[in-house]
Symmetry: C2
Subunit: 220 residues, 2 copies
Amino acid sequence: MQSLRATRRPAATRTRERILDASLAMFNAFGEPNVSTNHIADETGISPGNLYYHFRSKDDIVEQLFASYEARIDEALLLPTTRAPNLEDLWLQLHLLFEAIGSYRFLHRDLVDILTRNRRVRIRFARILDRASISATSLLRALVETGVLHAREEDLPPLVENAIALVTFWVGYDTVRSGHFNGHANDPLLGMRRVIALLAPFLDATARAHFERLAAAYGA
Amino acid sequence: MQSLRATRRPAATRTRERILDASLAMFNAFGEPNVSTNHIADETGISPGNLYYHFRSKDDIVEQLFASYEARIDEALLLPTTRAPNLEDLWLQLHLLFEAIGSYRFLHRDLVDILTRNRRVRIRFARILDRASISATSLLRALVETGVLHAREEDLPPLVENAIALVTFWVGYDTVRSGHFNGHANDPLLGMRRVIALLAPFLDATARAHFERLAAAYGA
């Protein structure tokens, strides 16, 4: 059922959103390099000419989708400002990150190719990684200060780098490992397990048990 | 200067090898999706028709290059059979792996896309990961048994999975992080550092110092 707001929206805006929705679904299902603007127009039920009235090129569509992805990632990277972050905050951050990545998995599947072809997206993605690095370092440092994570200050940079590499290439790794795209990219918990395994040697038994309880509560 | 052996080789074999060499160099420099058979024919100084006499398609070239890559990886995965493997064996294995990956970095740069398009390469790559998993588990288990690695048996599977993910996507991570392809993909030590950071919390001070000496000896 369409909402009142949707029915009042101008037709051009609705078409534009339908193009973006169809593009995201097709990119995720088949991989961005395998979907042309003609496929997208077909799927949206419009002519290729109409599609080009809304978007200059497929790259233009990718950039619009990237903006929504970036907003989701930035929301996931937010840390509490009025208290020290704790294990639940780490859990939540990872959960939101892997959910956002699952929703826009086409981007992570062909990341290098997409970034190579689109300079603006490349620059914005590099900045996201910088922000992720700052956020993850703050979070881990707070966990060290509150005695939850037993790591030295010099352990943090390589730990953060490996965490970022594992998160960024989780979709790629899962695809290669499971032998098919969309293997488990929609299950945030499987991606989270990779990062939690990375942190595990720095956690004491209490913190590990805490993670196990969170995993059980989330149905893992 | 051409070797005596090369000059005696039949012309067709020499052309075939020149096509493969040119393809590898161009794939590595520009990314496989961005290089066509026409580009390769141009670079080899032959006609497109002559190229198709030697290879049915670009995928056929990719498969031939993949066979050489697979042989290099399998060589890197060999472990000593007459004695327990030690830290130097781990170092050597990682060094050979990252050298092979650097030589065929085009494959790792667009891994998901290449594997999706080529079923035979996909199956063979999945088997390489299985063999890598077995080899890495044997090696780490031996290090645990000789008291070098302080890990429990249940720590090994997630450790091996994360190591394989970091090695497989090292080229992708480096490209995204450095903002340009061929960033540091040719420097095995930078990739090795990612895996050594992963193992570090399980190593005692002596083993860590040992790795530092190895890194210094290799000019890191």
